[in-house]
């Protein structure tokens, strides 16, 4: 249908882009992860598995990874708990206000990540809005210090930032449910709650899985929220990678951690893809 030249013209640029800016860097990282760094801070191009051994032997790495996954899991859970009801309301009950409300879900995505993270800093800090208010109403006599520079702050901020990413796929899957299925369910005697659990929820599972994957994967790799709001107890795995590539100047170890995360994330995406397929009709 299209000429050969046309096909070449449209396929080569994106392929070249992916090769130069994705495959090549990954290949480079892959190589780095087997190299090492001398005390004099030069990269030694000799191949070994030492970096990967270190990952498993030093508790700080896998503990931080586990903590990161635990934070990501909580972000995922809270995003779903907040996002699902909103998406459900939007799809089934918003009526004429649907478009407006949908825009209000989208708009926060236009605001810079940094601005939103900093906003939480001013809310949660010891002189922040929340502490000032709590002291003003005498619920507490001194500022609560667990609010900021803690895993709590990281989970809260990431939940705020990534909830729209869970709302959108859930909303899309709810919108795809033919409304006559809901009518058929009521017609067959099912109440609103029965209809939700037996028809609507099962049919929205692909959206839930996609949304959960977004929230988990994006939070797992996040480094700005823990950097700005996490404090020492809220450090995540990406912060370690950043410092290894920066101040610590240990690119090989940083590359090994990055590849480890890549494996985790890719297997998660693969699993979520399988799940979504299993539940789509």
């Amino acid at each position: 249908m299209f000429s050969r030249a046309y096909k070449t013209a449209v396929t080569v640029p994106p392929l070249a882009w992916v090769a130069v800016f994705l495959l090549f860097p990954y290949a480079l990282m892959f190589c780095y992860s087997f190299w090492s760094v001398t005390p004099a801070q030069t990269i030694l191009h000799s191949w070994s598995l030492d970096n990967y051994k270190e990952l498993f032997q030093k508790p700080v790495y896998w503990q931080t990874l586990l903590r990161s996954m635990w934070i990501a899991a909580r972000v995922m859970l809270f995003s779903l708990l907040l996002g699902y009801p909103l998406a459900y309301f939007l799809s089934f009950y918003a009526g004429k206000r649907k478009d407006l409300l949908y825009q209000m879900v989208i708009i926060p995505l236009w605001v810079s990540y940094l601005v939103r993270a900093y906003a939480w800093k001013t809310i949660l800090g010891s002189d922040g809005v929340l502490n000032t208010l709590l002291q003003y109403v005498h619920l507490t006599s001194h500022p609560l210090d667990f609010l900021l520079y803690s895993p709590f702050a990281v989970v809260l901020t990431l939940t705020h930032i990534y909830t729209p990413f869970t709302i959108l796929p859930i909303y899309a899957s709810l919108e795809h449910i033919p409304r006559n299925l809901v009518e058929a369910s009521h017609d067959l005697g099912a109440t609103l709650a029965q209809t939700f659990w037996k028809v609507i929820f099962p049919l929205s599972i692909p959206g839930v899985v996609a949304g959960a994957t977004f929230a988990f994967v994006l939070s797992l790799g996040d480094f700005l929220a823990p950097l700005l709001l996490g404090g020492p107890s809220g450090i995540m795995i990406s912060n370690i990678v950043v410092s290894l590539f920066g101040a610590a100047y240990n690119w090989p170890l940083g590359a090994a951690i990055s590849l480890g995360m890549l494996v985790i994330v890719v297997s998660l995406l693969f699993m979520s893809e399988r799940l979504e397929k299993k539940w789509s009709f």
Binding site: N180, S185, H186, D187, L188, G189, T191
Partner: protein, 354 residues
């Protein structure tokens, strides 16, 4: 409007139902009674309000005014899940994530019937629609006709008092459609549940129904048995919608109707009157008959329909009549037609409605 056949008690009574969507009037003052075990078809063009009427009975729409009663129970104030009414939807609306069997069991499950009873009733319902072999399949793996049967089983397994069917055959191809018409009708006789069947297809309505309610722009034109509605149409619209007809605009004076060169005796009151004359009541005239109305004309066109042909004949004064004949093609260009005055049925004009 004709009443419910006297021998059967009334099951559902629709009283003065009206429905507006904003400024758009969809139904105005519709009253209709449905007898137990009856097969009633609501027939109408798209936009006539037939589906809206069905949805009001099912409970998916709320009437602007009027009431729906089932026996001594007022139905229109109850949510759909409390009504002993089930629906077969136009596109079947089978749950895609459930198997055929689970789809059929749905109504019994939500009613929390015991497992053994569910199993037995589902098996029985699937048997009745000949879908036992496909019990474990998902709806996407079976054909349209099979989905149709599952939708029927899913509704009937709940033993509703009334089954509503919203153009259930419109998605099937012509052959399967005719086959399903017959099956549906015999299934209805077998289970004895009243069916309210919505369609735009007058032939389908004629084949299947005990009575037809013809809806036009949100008002009932006529409610009658297929035979009655065909042979005694009350309005010009009914006469034209059900089968073919010739409408003769005549002037009646002293018991004689005159339409151009034609005239015949009639018992209708004086004044301008429309008469409906079915094409099969026209025939080439023969010497033997007397008391018939005769008219000469020129053959314009002949359309072959298999068992019969429709012949368009233009009379001297420009009047075009359509005649149905089963005697093969006419060879002559000039013909003389005749009909019995009794076959010209006076009908009311159908005024334009918006």
């Amino acid at each position: 409007m004709s009443a419910t056949p006297a021998q059967k008690p009334t099951l559902l009574s629709i009283r003065n139902i009206a429905k507006q969507f904003g400024r758009n009037v969809v139904l105005r003052d519709v009253s209709l009674e449905i007898a137990e075990g009856e097969f009633l078809t609501i027939l109408g063009e798209s936009g006539s309000g037939k589906t809206t009427l069905l949805r009001i009975i099912a409970g998916f729409e709320t009437a602007t005014s009027g009431e729906v009663w089932m026996g001594a129970e007022r139905l229109d104030q109850q949510p759909p899940f409390r009504r002993r009414v089930n629906t077969v939807f136009q596109n079947y609306a089978l749950f895609p994530h459930l198997t055929v069997e689970q789809n059929v069991a749905y109504g019994l499950r939500v009613a929390r019937r015991p497992d053994a009873e569910i199993e037995q009733r589902v098996a029985e319902a699937l048997g009745k629609v000949k879908m036992t072999a496909h019990a474990k399949k998902k709806p996407s793996k079976i054909s349209g006709g099979q989905q149709q049967r599952v939708a029927l089983a899913r509704a009937l397994v709940n033993r509703p008092n009334l089954l509503l069917l919203d153009e259930p055959l419109s998605a099937l191809d012509a052959n399967l459609r005719r086959q399903m018409q017959v099956e549906l009708k015999s299934l209805q006789r077998e289970v004895g549940i009243a069916f309210v069947f919505v369609t735009h297809d007058q032939e389908e309505a004629m084949v299947m129904s005990d009575r037809i309610a013809l809806l036009r722009s949100g008002e009932l034109e006529q409610v009658a048995t297929p035979r009655e509605i065909y042979s005694r149409p009350e309005t010009a619209y009914v006469a034209q919608f059900i089968g073919h007809t010739n409408l003769l605009r005549a002037e009646v004076r002293d018991g004689v109707a005159r339409c151009g060169a034609l005239s015949w005796r009639t018992s209708t009151t004086d004044g301008p009157t429309l008469f409906s004359l079915r094409p099969e009541h026209l025939r080439p005239s023969s010497v033997a008959s007397n008391g018939t109305v005769r008219v000469k004309g020129k053959v314009l066109q002949q359309a072959f329909h298999g068992a019969t042909s429709l012949v368009r004949v233009e009379c001297a004064d420009g009047l075009v009549l359509v005649m149905r004949t089963s005697s093969g093609a006419l060879t002559a260009q000039e013909v003389e037609l005749e009909f019995s005055p009794a076959d010209a049925i006076p009908v009311r004009e159908s005024p334009e409605r918006s």
